[in-house]
Symmetry: C2
Subunit: 229 residues, 2 copies
DNA sequence: TTGTCAGATGTCATTAGATGACATTATGTG
DNA sequence: CACATAATGTCATCTAATGACATCTGACAA
């Protein structure tokens, strides 16, 4: 558990920090910032994995990277925000992937395909599903993070809604269908995700299977008077 | 904005506090505790309404009731927890109402009826919908509360799932349908709630209409290739 | 190269939420 | 009344977060 100087820290979830960091100071300066950011994320995730999110203080993270505590909060709006940086990247990738699906595809199929596609372009092009799963695991097992995660999803629903409305050529302001569908997709991805993780098989096929298992039950679930299993 | 002594404070959302408060010291002691709890809730909600949740410090609440700050945290696990006490009561009432619906009823209809029924038995038998709406308004407009709310719903999904599974006579551990349905109901109630509030009509009919407007679109939304409006 | 400006970081102070430890007061009971 | 215990107060401490201001460092032009 050595120090993680900004010089270390490989390619980590990029994306803009939640706290706007002014405009791109050209060249080296910008690179240093990225290194610091990456180092903070790496150190934090290591500590979270080792001792848990709640039992890791911000100063422990900044000590490991050798920056001041204040600097941490210049990169991340909060401790939660650091973890959410992964979620932001994932949500963005998902929204883009969904927008790229052919409109004639059934909505839930499109969602599943989009989710798979988004997994492949997560960290550094490597389909590093393992790290995604571990982050989700961390979130799911940490009340504070779960709350922040759910709120993030809630707050950014509108992006998915917009994409869905566009796919179908309706107005999201007046048509309730994209809202309903977005909520359903969110729930299904969430449920499938958990089963997927619990299954222990990180393959894309396992993810598909988990998603389809839920998607296939939706209509039946809604109708009631369920046929026995 | 005067003091709210424990002697004031009418019947407020009861239920057990999140922090277990040992067993029922009989008689007066218990009554005093309830009064203090009610006074804290009343003072807090008044301050939240006046200055907003974030800008209200715990010591302001305890000052108004004239107890120590430490005492607050003996009654409520956190500042959020106080607001969630309303949500807890509501969720419990909803779960009970849902369990009471006839099993042959369509699930979404049962959910709507249960929600209406739960509204009627909220504060002190008076169908005081206005206070429910204002609490939801507060939650919805306060990021920290919204996150806590969403997590609460998430954490207590299993109660609804259990009721649904029982209604239909299936095993919630192996059957995905109650899980899917619970998620859908949660989403629909949430969406309908917002439209209902936005509509400005606090009547039960308006609530029903908002719910049905969403429920009626679910099947269509899922199928895709939406017919134009 | 050097001087200047701006962006990035460090330092310090402060607020607020939350929790543990322990003393004090109040209440129920024999 | 006296005792046991529950409820509360007091005090100390931790952590997250934020504002203010000083300092350092990379960017860039003369």
């Amino acid at each position: 558990m050595g120090e993680i100087t900004p010089q270390a820290a490989a390619a980590l979830p990029g994306g803009e920090p939640a706290v706007a960091l002014a405009d791109p100071g050209p060249g080296r300066r910008q690179r240093k910032k990225q290194l610091t950011r990456d180092a903070l994320i790496e150190a934090a995730m290591e500590l979270f994995a080792a001792k848990g999110y709640d039992r890791t203080a911000v100063h422990e993270i900044t000590d490991a990277v050798d920056v001041s505590e204040r600097t941490f909060f210049r990169y991340f709006a909060s401790k939660e925000d650091l973890v959410l940086s992964f979620v932001r990247d994932g949500a963005t990738a998902f929204a883009e992937a969904l927008a790229a699906r052919p409109p004639q595809e059934e909505p839930l199929t499109a969602a599943r395909q989009a989710f798979q596609a988004s997994l492949r372009r997560l960290p550094g092009d490597t389909g590093d599903v393992a790290s995604y799963l571990s982050v989700m695991e961390l979130i799911d097992s940490t009340p504070a993070l779960l709350a922040a995660y759910l709120r993030y999803i809630h707050d950014h629903d509108h992006e998915i809604i917009r994409v869905l409305a566009e796919r179908e050529g309706v107005d999201p302001a007046t048509d309730r269908r994209p809202r309903v569908l977005a909520a359903m997709i969110g729930a299904l991805v969430f449920l499938a995700n958990r089963d997927w993780r619990a299954g222990g098989d990180p393959s894309a096929e396992a993810m598909s299977a988990a998603f389809d298992a839920y998607a296939g039950e939706v209509t039946s679930a809604l109708s009631g008077h369920w046929p026995a299993r």
